[in-house]
Amino acid sequence: MGQLRLVGGALGVAAAALTAAHAQDVQRGGTVIVHVNAEQGVLNPALRASTGVYQITGKFMEPLIELTYEGYEGVLATEWSSSADGREISFTLREGVNWHDGQPFTCEDVAFSAMNLWKPLLNYSSTLHANLEAVDCPDPHRAVFRYSQPMPLELIVAAMPDLGHPVPKHLYEGTDILRNPHNQAPVGTGPFRFGEYERGQYIIGLRNEDYWRGEEYPYLDRVIWRFIPDKAAAAAALEAEEIMESPFIGISMEDMRRLGDDPRFDMGPQGFEANTAHSTVEFNFRNPILADLRVRQAIYHALDIDFALQTIMRGYGQPGRGPIPSTGGENYTDDVPTYAYDVERARQLLDEAGYAPGPDGIRFRLRHRPAPWGEYTQLWAEYFVQAMREVGIAVELVTNDAPGFLTGVYRDHDFDTANGWHQFRSDPAVSTTVWLRSGAPAGTAWSNQFGYESAEMDRLIDEAAQELDPARRAELYHEVQRLAMTDLPVIFAIEHPFLGISNRKLMNHHNTPRWDSSSWYDLWVAE
């Protein structure tokens, strides 16, 4: 229930929006066209866990559990519980739910999906379910997940909105799952059924007339996702009201702000709380200079986080406090060591480390790789170069596109410092702690690229992943944060939400913390 506390502020906004919506009568029907940056080949969230996939398939396929501002809400599951030893997790499944082809949804589908897709084929989920032995179906509406090691219920529940989408067994059983045509034409239980995918242009979702929430849902007749790769063109489409919404900073920050001031649009971080990310500065411990803790501390002290927050993020965000963001519920703590902006202290630390400035004022040189994820990371890299120059560190930027960056940093470890962002997925065990744990082979994206090895960190991570007592588990994650902020393999400089912009005609928009990934059953348009 930690989720309740952390989104208190946003809840107020949501409540206000809801009141406004109820003041008007809901209008049924209509089409909503929204912006998508990049094409998706696979439209199956049980095969590809990524925001780009959920954004579209969340309307067709539903997870067992969804995240709302009020906490976790059962979608295809209605109840969940864990056995005392944590080796059995049972879900009661919703009755009266049909797949879009009319077949009933049962435990068989969940068991099949878990054993044949989630565990072996779904990214992140293969780690989550590494100890999953079987899923039993004592009756059609009860699924029991059996694990060989204790599995915290909290972890499973937090992972479900992302990693808990079942597929219909009758369409997948006995086929080549990866080549199944329904990966491009999903059949789900959601409020919209898949209509048409015109590559490079659009995907159409049509109203599901047999939706389990009742005849009145969904309100819309159609949802259309339009692929617009160019940010400026997307902003123009929004302004010309050809599209109604653009999520995840899909247009440039300048246009975001300009259109945000236009009374026709709502702009802000609301609805993206569950997608909080950190802007990071990452170190390569293989470089002996950076292996020195004093140098890493000096670099942190040399960064004026507040300045960066105001100029790069335009005020959206807050200083980071370690690997878990403040939206991380009870697993988050702000009781960690911090490093205030202090250029003098930075210089002093560098002197102590034995890197006095040379005749040209330069102490040493670094090759820095910025990740190409949008505007933030590029601007961050430029700021990093400037800030380092202040303390006598010369930084050379090495820019690449995404595959080039990932290969350079994660496979070849060919960098001194890098910066990017790291998105938090509901629970630290899902994708955060792999960043700090040693032992990942080279080439695994978003694993320990730093070459950071700490027996203490590994122990904390492993213990927390199997700790059943939520309070004890949270305490272990607080330890992880403190240790990460002490050892500094990476600077979690700024915690920032994503931003979205939508036309005010949309009603009930951004009313859940992962709204763009959710089902939109209650979205409607006021004409």
């Binding site: 990866l178 063109a233 596109d401």
Partner: protein
């Protein structure tokens, strides 16, 4: 029955083109392999990460765990059977995606090039007849402006004016989504979507043709046979059409043939900005996503198109100037 020399010539050119195409394919394959990262890196980047077993499984499935030369050999083997392979980004056969996109790009290229060519030639000839007058200066200056203006900038300006401010034309795409027009309504709809991209792409090339045509006409007008024709009392129009144009067009036709391939490059930007689902946009995404099969497919297709256009250019050349022999 004797084969007409023109057909024999064309057939010979096609045969000669085969080894060139094979070399292009091998060269491109190796070049793409030099780029850091592969399809799997790009896919995993999109997903926001994955565990090592998952990455290894993907790589094995896509055959990316094999040595580069083995991959090349396998690829060429498939290509010999006209199998372009599978696109792991679009999760469709490469050929399906290519054929779906080719039409849009050809439409855009054909309309831009013909507009550029017709208006460029006309304006160039017109300016040359009034060389160094005010008209000539205005036309030449405009040409310079169009030539200097980057197409992305021109595109965005047009979107701002015609879509956002005036609301006359759609921002992008090839059809109105969800309108499901048929027949003439569909043709009109597509045409409306093509107005701005065509304008953006054609203006630069228009400037090219205009400059070249103007110079060429001025040059040809000084030649002896024109003077002779004029002395024999040929009217200005006849002089222009029969004597000057036919000869002045030669360098312009050469440029047209050469530019066919550069227009394809120019269409990358225009198609991306106007979210037109064509080959240009496809090439761009394929590079970014390291979709090797797709990219190779595009290169193959474009090479064929360029080779065919070159052959056609030479044929037109011979037709315009009978002194040129087809060998």
């Amino acid at each position: 029955m004797p084969i007409p020399p023109i057909l024999a010539y064309a057939a010979l050119r096609v045969v000669k083109a085969v080894p060139i195409l094979v070399l292009i394919m091998i060269g491109s394959f190796l070049l793409i392999k030099l780029a850091p990262g592969d399809t799997v890196d790009a896919l995993v980047g999109d997903m926001g990460g994955a565990d090592p077993a998952f990455v290894a499984r993907l790589r094995a499935e896509y055959g990316l765990d094999q040595p580069v030369l083995v991959q090349l050999w396998l690829y060429l083997g498939k290509l010999a059977r006209l199998d372009f392979g599978w696109s792991y980004v679009y999760e469709q056969p490469v050929l399906t995606v290519l054929t779906a996109r080719l039409g849009n790009t050809l439409l855009l290229m054909a309309s831009s090039l013909s507009i550029a060519f017709v208006f460029g030639v006309a304006l160039g000839a017109f300016a040359a007849r009034r060389a160094y007058s005010l008209t000539d200066n205005v036309i030449s200056t405009l040409g310079l402006v169009f030539y200097a203006m980057p197409s992305f900038f021109l595109s965005l300006l047009m979107i701002l004016l015609f879509s956002v401010t005036l609301g006359w034309l759609p921002v992008g795409g090839i059809r109105t989504i969800g309108a499901f027009n048929t027949g003439w309504a569909d043709v009109v709809d597509v045409a409306r979507h093509l107005v701005m991209p065509t304008a953006a792409l054609s203006l630069i090339y228009l400037a090219f043709y205009m400059r070249l045509m103007r110079t060429s006409v001025l040059e040809v007008s000084e030649l002896d046979f024109v003077r002779t024709a004029r002395a024999k009392g040929a009217g200005e129009t006849r002089l222009m059409v029969h004597h000057i144009m036919r000869n002045a067009l030669l360098p312009v036709i050469t440029l047209l043939g050469l530019q066919f391939s550069t227009v394809l490059g120019g269409s990358v930007i225009v198609e991306t900005i106007f979210s037109l689902p064509g080959l240009g946009q496809l090439a761009y995404t394929s590079v970014v996503k390291r979709d090797l099969n797709m990219l190779m497919g595009i290169i193959a297709l474009c090479s064929v198109v360029v080779v065919v256009v070159n052959i056609l250019t030479d044929l037109v050349y011979a037709w315009l100037d009978p002194r040129i022999e087809l060998k």
